[in-house]
Point group: C2
Chain length 241, copies 2
Amino acid sequence: MTSSTTSSTINGTTKTWQAIQAEVRKRINARLWKPGALIPHEADLALEFGCARATVNRALRGLAEEGLLTRQRRAGTRVALNPVRHARFEIPVIRSEIEGRGQSFGFAILKRETLVPPPDVRARLKTGAKVALLHLETLYTADGAPHVFEDRWINLAAVPSIDEETFVTISPNEWLVREVPFDGGDFTFSALAATSKQAALLACELGQGLLVLDRSTHNAQAVVTSVRLIFHAGYRMHTQI
Amino acid sequence: MTSSTTSSTINGTTKTWQAIQAEVRKRINARLWKPGALIPHEADLALEFGCARATVNRALRGLAEEGLLTRQRRAGTRVALNPVRHARFEIPVIRSEIEGRGQSFGFAILKRETLVPPPDVRARLKTGAKVALLHLETLYTADGAPHVFEDRWINLAAVPSIDEETFVTISPNEWLVREVPFDGGDFTFSALAATSKQAALLACELGQGLLVLDRSTHNAQAVVTSVRLIFHAGYRMHTQI
DNA sequence: ATTGCTATTATGTCTATACATATTAGCGAG
DNA sequence: CTCGCTAATATGTATAGACATAATAGCAAT
């Protein structure tokens, strides 16, 4: 029958943009297209794959975002010389992370005060020498065991409503994620050897290596909060690419 | 003067997908569209912004990839309940990282041997109990100072040509990135306190906290290599979102 | 040789239309 | 009330055609 409703209008195989991506990936891996080399331009590939240029564009754009290709107008598309790989870490809400492992989540506010912070914190939050900030120290636990110690400074000007929050039922971590929209931030991983205070808090030996994550988040107006998370000994932050 | 602009949106000149993204972001941040809420569907937005549905699709797809929106066929698009944020770390070639800071790069192969690895390495590389692997220990330096100690195991079956490489002019790190295509891998950050050996290698105090990055990379066939990088004391790995 | 214009070219984006596909809502039979 | 079918619907993808934009190459004038 001359039914025009059949799906595969294209001879041979239906070439979705994902199929094209896979094919391009294969050619790069097989060194058919070598690092640094120019690959055929979109129109040619569209012709070869029997699809529209927009479909090729969709495929190549994705690979460029991954860092596998570099593209430039007029100059064309080439295989990346140094395939800069990106590791994407999910930064979850602490409660979700713990409960996701089937453990019980808990937290305790160890300190809550409003004062002018030390210079390094002032620098991170870009606040003046006389501006008081909210300072919170919280210990998060998993199945009762110390999980992470959080040392947080909050810009009250950016989050005024936080004054009314007691943090009895919701942790500072979760409250901020839920209530404060933000545009960006920065993350820094580092390591330190446990001081006696940290060893006591996190129930580890004095001098053990601890993973540290410093994070500050900002919106369009100001730096909202800056936090240092010191994880329990042996904690590993994992991701796949 | 007169409050002339009652403009519902940016009209006229540019209604690019990026402008639409920005507008949607603004509405989410302004809580006009609250977390969990359904937003108008693509056709409606296209009508409102005066553009084609494909353009709206492009904008919303990007926001969904970021994790700010969740989209489902037939069900529509809603603002993500807990915006899982992603930190994207670039994993550069060590030489590029050092030279990018204007420092001089160097490396020294401390050990090169071929032997059956211990069980934990066997597990990571998924090799048999009798398969010998190439083991390399390398110290990378920046301006002559220790930068990172690399302890690497390489699956010879996956990278046979490595036997001929002397690593005199090119480091193992760079050689592998350049010569061995891979599909994926996983990363784990952790911390340890410097042992006396590590302290000597990295020129730091005994017991200092050191940042550790374990990485293994695989292609379609096998796990190609597994590496542990132990960074010098005080090293900070930074990224922005 | 250097500068400056212009034509060329490959990617970037937008449009209008069409069909595919997943998921839900509704309805009828058991 | 539940199961199973069908219709409705929002996103996902593909298409041809068009124009925009950046970067290059070539050529001309200084």
